[in-house]
Subunit: 333 residues, 2 copies
Amino acid sequence: MATLSDVAAEAGVSPTAVSRYLNNRIDLPQATRDRIDAAIAKLDYRPNLLARRLSTGKSEAFALVTPDIANPFFAELAAAVERQAHASGYSVYITSTGGHADAEINAIRRMADSHVDGLIMTTNRVDDGSLANLLAGRENVVLLDEDIDGVSVPRVFVDNAEGTYLAAQHLIAMGHRDIALIGGPHRLMSVNERLAGFTRAMDEAGLPVRPGWVLLGDYTRDYGVAAASVLLDAVDPPTAILACSDYIAIGVMQVVREYGLSIPNDISLVGFDDMAFAALVDPPLTTIRQPVAAMGELAVKHLLALLEGQTPPAETRLAVELVTRQSVAAPSR
Amino acid sequence: MATLSDVAAEAGVSPTAVSRYLNNRIDLPQATRDRIDAAIAKLDYRPNLLARRLSTGKSEAFALVTPDIANPFFAELAAAVERQAHASGYSVYITSTGGHADAEINAIRRMADSHVDGLIMTTNRVDDGSLANLLAGRENVVLLDEDIDGVSVPRVFVDNAEGTYLAAQHLIAMGHRDIALIGGPHRLMSVNERLAGFTRAMDEAGLPVRPGWVLLGDYTRDYGVAAASVLLDAVDPPTAILACSDYIAIGVMQVVREYGLSIPNDISLVGFDDMAFAALVDPPLTTIRQPVAAMGELAVKHLLALLEGQTPPAETRLAVELVTRQSVAAPSR
DNA sequence: TCAGCTATGTAAAGCGCTTTACTAGCGATA
DNA sequence: TATCGCTAGTAAAGCGCTTTACATAGCTGA
């Protein structure tokens, strides 16, 4: 690979001149510029980014750490982040952690070591303080999708409470009174908020939130299966289930089918996320749509603002939307 | 951030000593080692990867370029690649190109500029030669999932022909004689091979491959919709459709439903890929499973072998598998 | 007593770039 | 004619690390 010095030698100028020319830090006469351009073309020179980064301390890149890139939700988020970053001339390095604390810590470390300019962090765990510690005081981090307690960096979230509020309202409007909620991990911000939204809707309708009908575990299909089994095994099962993720909803569907029941005739179901498959399942799932692309874009914009010394909003809430399909009907009894 | 020199000063030795100690290139007495360790701990020193890479020319990292990280197939592939790479102490930098030629070229360039040790390349386009050009002669590249004409680097593919052969055989065994195939982009390796496997099964069964029943376009839902419409509009539609991707199959399902027909009663359908949603749609889709995790792992292993100067197989074919669900039945007429 | 080891390091160059000074030469001005 | 200012650059240090070659002190054996 040709170096800057090679180009300089070929063009008959100093490396300094070439460097400054390439970085628009010098005005050279046309003749000199032509010689340099010719030398670059002839030698097929491309600057060594490593050297440049080492020298400047800037990388024109940032990191995205994500729990699981194979999960379509995070994959779409990643795609959106990447799109927006590229549009701004930045590269993005994605790492998935499998949702393990040590992997997250390592990823953050590695990212910091590789001297990226900034970090967009998504997680799906409740932090025990180590993440907060690692992130404390950093001026180049934004949190996306899920909160980490005690971290005061800009955050981009969705209006979780509004989502479940809309979903519950919809079920109530359809005539349901016996509604259960299946949610993600206890104490996770999104879980708390989704539970709160649900509770508010129920309260407003004068309906009780039965403790046995609020099941918190994981945003996974497996947990949907487990929770739905508990619900359907009861002598007096709910007529509607609000699943706090489409994955949970899928698990619920499976169990309902196994019990020989039908959605929406016997049980109504609402999901959360509006993942690509939500429209494809049987019946197509009524769900709460998260504006994934907008979330990714906004996170990047806020990170860029941060890097430019501006102060983006401490917390942004993006609106969600109820998408009505065919998994909700009036209760039969 | 503390530097190597800071540590050296703190420990009362030279930077050289610290560097060599950290890289196991020197035997130091216990006392000195302790002092260095203490200094590192005290200063919270972590080596600057950029500087190290610049100095050694190695990065302990490689790149994965992929058409679309939001596509679950590539996302799962990426997850597998990442898992295996991390297990070997490598980082991986993922870029998605949106399947655009110039984005692919840029990604490869950027990756080369960032001095990663190697590159795993996936594409879903027919190359016009520019990719082949860029990749020619490189000793640190492996091709995954799809071929690029004229590139002689190790390749990891799936047995595409066997997949459609199995699928067609299954349909034939169920009694179908009028079978159509909907495939991806014309001239793409996987498309050719899947068509070939289909043709072989039909030939062996003495059945004709009707030209009007082989539709090549894209591995997308939209193309599935378009192609299925063509097929069902005909006076004499096929009794079974072999969709060369689950996305295509989803499109087909949609059209079949819109025509007031039912799968599998009126039309049988087989997909390809076994994406996560294949089991979730209605009816659950019979499809060909690709061993995505194994593909990713193998690509990494071959790349590592390459980096160690070994010669991995020029081409590896991984076996696919027919997964029988409920989208195939005997033809009604 | 001294050459020759061994143990324990160190000095300095180099990776490829950026950046902060500084300068040679020349025409214009006072 | 001395000075100023402008044009068109350059020299050298520095980013943080690795690596090659060399150095010193103390010990051993003859």
